[in-house]
């Protein structure tokens, strides 16, 4: 089972880099959907012979992260009629390099922290790397929709870390995460929709009227 877990985690890390390197919005969304599906499979691989709890978590995660959210994002694209041009503030090569640095940093930090037995070798570093790369996408991309993708990655990283505690800490934590992603992105999506109607563009660099 350990090998499957590591394979899944490796694929999660790869999807992060796909988002960092792509120029197309639809590729971003596909990558985030794949990442959601991988996150759904992880609890089953981590806790084999899973209880009802792990199965429920897996099903819920796949439903929300791999199906509902990507669909919702695609709907937002259609409504706003934008398709390509991720338009980073930072070049693609630079962001990929920063992504590599993030992974290295995540591994270095996790070395320093005493780990629990549930925390498989790669789980914590990949979780931290996903958080950092999510923040990177959120801060270096200008399109509102891509920022939402970055936020989902950040949430995914938090979720990955939470997997350590699936068996120890009751349900509530996971429900909180799913609810949070769902609602936050939902509202952000609505706002994005409004942004497009208001300015005919999804570019947040144009939101610069409020300054001191």
């Amino acid at each position: 089972m350990t090998q499957i877990v590591e394979l899944l985690l490796l694929l999660v890390a790869l999807t992060n880099f796909v988002v960092l390197g792509t120029t197309r919005l639809s590729t971003c969304i596909r990558a985030i959907a794949v990442q959601g599906a991988l996150l759904g499979l992880l609890p089953l691989a981590l806790y084999p012979g899973g209880s009802l709890h792990t199965w429920g978590l897996a099903a819920g995660t796949i439903l929300v992260k791999a199906i509902v959210l990507p669909r919702f994002l695609r709907w937002a694209i259609r409504e706003a009629a934008v398709r390509r041009e991720v338009e980073p503030r930072l070049g693609y090569v630079a962001s990929l390099l920063l992504g590599v640095a993030a992974v290295a940093a995540a591994f270095a930090i996790s070395r320093q922290l005493p780990l629990l037995e549930q925390a498989r070798e790669m789980l914590v570093p990949v979780a931290l790397a996903t958080v950092i790369i999510g923040l990177l996408v959120l801060t270096t991309r200008t399109k509102a929709l891509v920022q939402v993708v970055g936020y989902i990655m950040l949430e995914n990283g938090v979720y990955l870390f939470g997997l350590i505690h699936v068996e120890r800490v009751p349900f509530l934590v996971e429900v909180g995460v799913l609810l949070d992603v769902f609602v936050a992105v939902f509202i952000m999506g609505i706002v994005v929709f409004h942004i497009s109607r208001e300015f005919d563009s999804l570019d947040t660099t144009r939101l610069t009227e409020l300054t001191d």
């Binding site: 922290l113 005493p114 938090v158 706002v191 409004h194 001191d212």
Partner: protein, 476 residues
């Protein structure tokens, strides 16, 4: 039972408010439910409620102080809304009252939860409940404000959740203890893994700090307070920030019990000083009244974490300051709301000479100015005095003098703009009628601030002292 009632009243009231057809009925219902909630909170002072759900929900002294502050401020804002909704129609329409009540319910959850994940859910709920209310004018500036608010606070809340997970990890190595329950974390603090606990503290500080609006995570604040309807701004500055501070105080409580106070105190003091510096710098020459209040809020949040970080008398000062800050922010935001209402919409609203155009609100603004800058005999004088004394007692003379200098700068900048708003020329000179709904609430809050500066009732003093004690401090 009382705890469940406290949570249930706003939740049920929010649903009922949505079902009521007439806007007037919704506003009256909002006021009535808020008063009902306040009555239940008052009952909790006389009959301390028993913990429920295996200790996940409990009301200790610190929680009770925050709950009473939030509930009192909310009741004032709710009755103010009755008058406000007759004059203006903020965004949200039918859902306006429901969103406000949901906000109250989530705030109650934060105040009574002794479980970090529940506390997090409550803060998340508060954030989401006010988000639709900020976007009240369908224009570019309002949109920008809500976008900034959503991005910064949702990132903050995500990092805070990671902090909660780190806290669970720190506890996982310790034998026994219910996961993430505050009381077990404190009693088993010696067994917490220090590295994970420190990491948890940093993430929770950044996450809850973003919610409080500590510098450098404060950038959403001026925009949001500048664009939100004033009563929503008042609730955010008085209630949302207080609840986020409670979250931070809870982690500090665990950290102090675990003996990593030397690690957390400098961090808190640093964020506090930085917030004061940023507030002082941006207040100079600030002309927009609501942005002025936003930076004033950054200042007061800075003072809160500064007191928390200094410990000793500073902890007492911080808890007292929380109550004072909520009252005075209520006075200021609602009074500014009245001034804006009387100025009317338009490209160049008249924002000077409030004393002549709207005498009662002008007077409230003037009283609020003296209160918010910590002049005696108002409550903020006492709490700021306690925080600065905490610095002197701890031997941090540089910090104490820096804070005093910054407070002086802030006093001058705030006075310059607000005195202009109160006494400045009033071109139209026409007096605008003031509805008693719009004046009574802020006046009551001003009286509470005044009372806290002169006399602190016994039970409140004991609650403040207990609160200060769990944070590693003491009362005078």
């Amino acid at each position: 039972m009382l705890l469940l009632a406290l949570l249930g009243v706003p939740a049920v009231a929010a649903v009922v408010a949505y079902a009521l057809p007439a806007p007037g009925a919704r506003a009256a219902w909002l006021g009535l439910s808020a008063s009902g909630h306040l009555a239940l909170v008052a009952l909790a002072w006389f009959a301390p409620p028993a913990p429920v759900f295996a200790g996940w929900l409990a009301l200790d002294a610190l929680g009770l102080v925050v709950l009473s502050t939030v509930s009192g401020l909310f009741a004032v804002v709710a009755w103010y809304a009755v008058g406000y909704l007759r004059r203006a129609s903020p965004r949200g329409g039918r859902a306006f009252a429901s969103c406000l009540l949901a906000f109250l319910g989530a705030a109650t959850l934060v105040a009574v939860s002794h479980h970090f994940a529940l506390l997090w859910v409550g803060l998340e709920g508060m954030t989401l409940a006010v988000a639709p209310l900020i976007f009240h004018r369908h224009d570019r500036r309002s949109l920008e404000a809500v976008w900034k608010y959503l991005v910064i606070s949702s990132v903050g809340i995500a990092l805070a959740l990671l902090g909660v997970f780190f806290l669970a990890t720190a506890q996982a190595v310790a034998p026994g203890g219910r996961p993430l329950v505050l009381d077990d974390l404190v009693s088993g603090a010696a067994g917490l893994q220090p590295a994970w606990l420190k990491a948890a503290f940093i993430f929770l500080l950044v996450g809850f700090g973003a919610k409080m609006g500590l510098a450098p995570m404060h950038t959403w604040k001026p925009d949001t307070y500048g664009e939100a309807p004033p009563l929503v701004g008042g609730l955010m500055a008085g209630a949302l920030t207080s609840c986020a501070f409670l979250g931070l105080a809870r982690v500090t409580q665990v950290a102090v019990a675990a003996g990593i106070a030397p690690f957390v105190r400098p961090l808190l003091v640093g964020f506090g000083l930085l917030s004061l510096i940023v507030a002082a710098a941006f207040l100079i020459g600030q002309t927009d009244l609501r942005r002025l209040l936003a930076y004033s809020s950054v200042e007061h949040m800075g003072l809160l974490v500064l007191g928390l970080g200094l410990g000793g008398l500073g902890s007492y000062g911080a808890v007292l300051h929380l109550v004072n800050n909520a009252c005075v922010k209520g006075v200021m935001f609602l009074a500014v709301g009245n001034v804006l209402l009387s100025a009317g919409e338009g490209p160049a609203p008249v924002l000077t000479g409030a004393l002549r155009r709207t005498p009662a609100s002008g007077l409230l603004l003037l009283v609020g100015l003296f209160a918010v800058t910590g002049s005696p005999p108002f409550g903020l004088f006492l709490s700021e005095f306690a925080i600065v004394s905490g610095a002197f007692q701890g031997g941090h003379y540089v910090i104490a003098f820096t804070v005093l200098a910054l407070l002086a700068v802030i006093f001058v900048s705030l006075s310059a703009r607000i005195l202009d708003a109160v006494y400045g020329p009033a071109p139209a000179a026409a007096r605008v009628a003031e509805s008693p709904w719009l004046v009574a609430g802020p006046a009551a809050l001003a009286l509470v601030t005044l009372m806290l500066g002169v006399f602190i009732p016994g039970p409140l003093f004991r609650a403040l002292a207990d609160g200060a004690q769990v944070l590693g401090g003491w009362a005078p």
